[in-house]
Symmetry: C2
Subunit: 329 residues, 2 copies
Amino acid sequence: MKPFINSSQAIRREILEGLVYAHGDKLRWVKGTGIVVRKILPEKGVALISGGGSGHEPAHIGYVGQNMLTSAVMGTFFLPPAVDEILQSIQLADNGDGVLLIIKNFEKDLASFLAAEKKAIALGHHVKHVIVNDDCSIETETFKKRRRGVAGTVFVHKILGAAAAKGMPLNELELLGGQVIYNLNTLGVAFSPASQLGEIPSQYTLANNEMYYGIGIHGEPGYKIEQMKSSERIAIELFNKIIDQYDDSRLKSCGILVNGLGSTPLLELAVFTNHVRQLFDIDDIPVLFKKTGNFLTSYDTQGLSLTILNIIDNNWLQLLEAPTDAFGW
Amino acid sequence: MKPFINSSQAIRREILEGLVYAHGDKLRWVKGTGIVVRKILPEKGVALISGGGSGHEPAHIGYVGQNMLTSAVMGTFFLPPAVDEILQSIQLADNGDGVLLIIKNFEKDLASFLAAEKKAIALGHHVKHVIVNDDCSIETETFKKRRRGVAGTVFVHKILGAAAAKGMPLNELELLGGQVIYNLNTLGVAFSPASQLGEIPSQYTLANNEMYYGIGIHGEPGYKIEQMKSSERIAIELFNKIIDQYDDSRLKSCGILVNGLGSTPLLELAVFTNHVRQLFDIDDIPVLFKKTGNFLTSYDTQGLSLTILNIIDNNWLQLLEAPTDAFGW
């Protein structure tokens, strides 16, 4: 057990207490829960709520702020928040203009968030949701796409958050979310799984000098284990597999997110970003928006993911570029 | 050799090309060199320049921007930039109001930066420097303070950068720098050294489950190897040793920086921050400014450092809080 993990019970409180302490001018933590809300809640506009287990920092608390989320709800290690806490977050965030839940496509996350949505609607709240399923990894036996919700979720927070701040109503936000998600694909690679921790052990192990393409963000398996390759070769694998998700005709300009999975130094993310740049240059696809850093992690996993957003509407670019005080962006 | 490091020769170019690509709206890289400057150079005000080897990302390129550095110069892995590149950076950045060099206290860094300063003065530039020596680790044999320049350097960039942007002249910036550095102390701990890379191998090794207090940022040794302790115990060791640097009478309010050394996930930095918070609470010392993240790393070292700034002047707080577009802040 690493020295920073005192117990899987306490970890959620300790993370939130530490991060809200560091960023407390903007954020309010509802003690005893996993709920963080903006310190000053907007008086109008749809409220956006997302969440997930601990272990994905800076997600999702790092995206609470101007032009992004109204509230984030954190569960225990790698497990989604409880229904009642999501409900409480909805009650806190809703100013009467309704609430949109941004849910990552994992069975347990869906169960929690959709049950909370149902309860909130019964209480008179207007609530809708979008389900982010950007992971284009496949099951190796069935060739079925896994479609888990991974790092591209951060782009959904930003585009929808900025649109909500501009006054877009709930119905339209739901539609916009669907369009963004349809144009969003992510693929990751791990050089080591996260340290086992809490109730969720990793579903794979890797020998030294092995890597695993297509892994999830809670220790879920990928599609191919290989001997470690160069950064260029990794970039080619991820880039090609993602580009294949788009019809040639519809990939005109892109936004990219190079995301570290927790223990990957920025030096390595920078070098990888440079190799991704070369591949876009070769294919002559303009990249209008770029982010490189740790955005949605898998505790201390060594590895990274590449997200490509097909920007089909110039407004999306403006929404991505809108200023925010969310510390994780 | 890790897959992201193709050669220690190429690494500087690849890092800069990747990071300037990701943040290219604000930064200009002078190709073939380690120099990055603000895309739009201020027409007046003292220019601030800092730098060091590769392997410290986001430092120092991440601090080029509004209210921070005018230019950063990067050397090869863990080695400072060459004299002529620092000179070229001075020539690019100087608008006639002079240049302040912010140098980390390492022999090789001093040699490069001071030689460049001398050359620039001979060419008619007004150049001064400050030497950051915030590391309060000690030599175990001589009990001499090591006084290397480490993560606290980031606070120096911000305070002096914001003061320069307000029009503070070169002489006063040099004095302010001295005051800030006198009130700045940092202490680190490593759970593993950086992977060996390039010409600078680590000067220590650690067994699994060992940690080393007081290490430097280029694989330099610390003052004490121990079995891994809990986050609370680590916080107590670093906090007490740093607090001991200040007379009781002069520590009225603080700024803190919890810095990951490269491979430390934010979850762990958050938990550690929370334990540091408790220690300040117990001693009833107000903490007016806080940062938690990866600011000045040592490639993929597992570990962290704590920096405490004694805020003796309320203006320092305003300068720390001034907005910036520097991506590493």
